[in-house]
Amino acid sequence: MSVPDLTSYVDRWDRRHLLDLESLTADEITTLLDVAQLLKDATEGCRRKLSLLSGKTCANLFFENSTRTRNSFSLAAKRLGADTVEFGSSGSSTAKGETFADTAKTIEAMGVDWVVTRHSTPGTPNLLARELGCCVLNAGDGPHEHPTQGLLDLLTIRQHRGTLEGLTVALVGDIAHSRTARSNIWGLKKLGAHVIVCGPPTLVSPRWKELGFEVAHHLDAILPRCDVLNLLRIQFERQNARPFPSVHEYAALYAMNATRMRQAKPNILIMAPGPINRGVEITPEVADGPHSVILEQVTNGIAVRMSALYLLSAADDRYAADKKRN
């Protein structure tokens, strides 16, 4: 397959940073998904290499541990011909007392085109976008957003259902601490899906209702209506006090298991952002069953990250050209 013509998409995109899905329009999200699909096809399922972005460099600046997202971004950059460079927080200068902004500026001064950043504090990518001259991609800022995770979930649903419009999608579990939830809700809402946030009240604030989302506390009550379930991991590491009595009780109320599957629509999609806690949010027979699209999500992660890197870079090239002209 040849290199796709992306000109018409590039014309519709003018952002140099991808910080969240909340501030994107439905058109912008659709553009990201369309380009992701084209690039996925052109790379034969994200396996072949193109040279769309050769000569550019992507820096992974992760202040929080990550394996899958970091590698997914690296692969996305490499599939499009860009170079990658890795920075971690342990052993780097932040461990020696440098502020994260100074660390980021140092890396930018080495001449990188994108900084992909993950940090435990919400808003750090926004601060970097203001401080740095290069493109900034948020790879997760605390419990705030993880836009490429949201996009890959949208892409996966779209591949199976053709559209998001009119679907009922439930996000189940630790909404309070989940950046996946905070990206998914906006993306789903903008593309016309009905969003349910479901979990115990200590993890699902009633305020979500004020923002236009359905709030539910009993999975069994909503399950028969759902077209898609996205089972979020319980983020034990972000919780000060345990928000439910025991893992045992949580699993009894919210784990997706074979019994519950019988109450679900026959074509329900089961998704999970991973890493999954088998036996907590999801039992093995469901995770590995015919409705599960968990591994497709992983492949689509590379596709949406290629799309984001490509579109941001195109906008950045245009911005640089404009700047030169003036």
Partner: protein
């Protein structure tokens, strides 16, 4: 010997005498010598300030300022802080013990007072620690601190952690006739929070400071004040729940006073959408409903006083992400204008009410000889241009701290001159 000073052409505003009219004010020998002196009463060689178009008011009194010296001079010193106060129209400030070592001994009080005398800024009064080492366990030597000159006691910016300790201290302080200030917050419920807990924090994924953490602390405080008949001041408060509690106990006749910060009267939690640490203040910027309630409570005197909430922190400390940055704000130089913009321009209050909340009332709460233009009282005077609009430019602050949620904003009301003990110490 200081020359006498005549301020003419201005409007004299003094809530203590219900004065709000054009007039002349003569200051001599460090005190207010006369209001509307006849021409023959004006001494030879008298200096004159033309206050045309301006308000002439008693100097402002701030119930709680962090001056960070000794120990954190990178944030603020007694010199820089007391001069920032002057630029904000303050002639008396109460310095809380956010220092290292803390102000829990006779010697420490003496250190602050000496430094303040040398600084020749606003008058600095010391708020001693309520607990020894500010550790929240045992009472500090409150009697000896009082003798050394401490005018009030507090563990601010932390709440007094133990209910029993607060009760004991309220009882003990009755014989000293000094108030206790409590910064109301249940620490366990506020731990790790960086902003108001509400719809905005939910969307941003930032850890919230729930209003209940403040409400519960205020409830405890007012109940203990009632039970002990002690002198208690709570503040700064920022929630509807705190206002509701205060309103109820005050209507029952319980003697308790409260204060709020001007930025909490003007800005709300949506500012945090920028993720900038300059909006990380304590108490946090609440939602618009709380802000509106707070403004009304200042108007109806449920909240007695406006305090600057000055919590200076150095630039490098504020340059971090929101979790790492401390709570901090440089607010001495913007407090009056912020309050005027929030309360006067909006038609909620008039100037005499504002001067009451910023000068007369806070002086009464502590029992300071200040907050009035009464004859024979200290000549602490602030001259304000009430109509001057100005833009907040933190790099021009006299304070060492330039972090403020108001940076770049247009405010009304500008301090033109600040006079302490009859001496002109600041002019814009």
């Amino acid at each position: 010997m200081k020359k006498p000073l005549l301020i003419h052409n201005g409007i004299l505003i003094d809530p203590s005498q219900n004065l709000n009219r054009g007039g002349r004010l003569l200051l001599d020998r460090g005190v207010v010598a006369a209001i509307d002196p006849s021409d023959e009463d004006i001494p030879e060689g008298c200096e004159v300030i033309d206050a045309a178009g301006c308000l002439v008011t008693p100097g402002f009194v701030d119930l709680g300022v962090e001056l960070r010296e000794p120990g954190f001079e990178e944030d603020e010193t007694i010199l820089s802080g007391s001069h920032a106060a002057l630029a904000g129209g303050y002639t008396s400030i109460l310095a809380t013990s956010s220092t290292d070592p803390v102000i829990d001994s006779h010697g420490a009080v003496e250190f602050v007072r000496q430094k303040a005398t040398q600084a020749r800024g606003a008058r600095v009064h010391v708020v001693g620690c309520l607990s020894s080492g500010r550790a929240g366990k045992q009472m500090a030597e409150l009697g000896l601190l009082s003798e050394a000159g401490a005018v009030a006691f507090s563990d601010a910016p932390r709440a007094v952690p133990s209910d029993a300790l607060l009760k004991r201290a309220l009882e003990y302080c009755r014989m000293l006739d000094r108030p206790i200030f409590d910064h109301p917050e249940v620490p366990e419920m506020a731990s790790g929070g960086v902003m108001h807990e509400g719809q905005v924090s939910l969307v941003l994924g930032l850890k919230g400071l729930p209003t209940e953490a403040e409400d519960l602390a205020v409830a405890r405080d007012v109940r203990l004040a009632e039970a002990t008949d002690g002198r208690l001041h709570v503040g700064p408060v920022s929630t509807m729940g705190a206002v509701d509690m205060l309103r109820r106990v005050k209507s029952r006749g319980v003697v308790v006073t409260a204060s709020a910060c001007p930025h909490n009267l003007m800005l709300n939690d949506t500012e945090m959408r920028s993720y900038e640490s300059r909006f990380k203040v304590h108490p946090p910027l609440r939602s618009a409903r709380h802000v509106a309630t707070l403004c009304q409570a200042v108007k109806d005197k449920t909240i007695d006083a406006i305090q600057s909430g000055h919590m200076p922190r150095s630039r490098e400390k504020m340059m971090n992400d929101l979790d790492q940055s401390p709570f901090g704000i440089s607010s001495l130089e913007t407090a009056m204008a912020t309050a005027a913009t929030a309360l006067i321009r909006t038609g909620i209050m008039d100037w005499i009410e504002l001067i009451d909340r910023m000068s007369t009332r806070p002086a009464q709460i502590v029992g300071l000889n200040a907050g009035t233009l009464g004859i024979g009282r200290p000549a602490d005077v602030t001259i304000i241009d009430p109509n001057a609009g100005w833009k907040v430019e933190p790099t021009r602050f006299r304070s060492s701290c330039i972090s403020t949620p108001l940076a770049g904003m247009e405010l009304i009301g500008r301090v033109k001159h600040t006079i302490v003990g009859g001496e002109l110490r600041f002019s814009v």
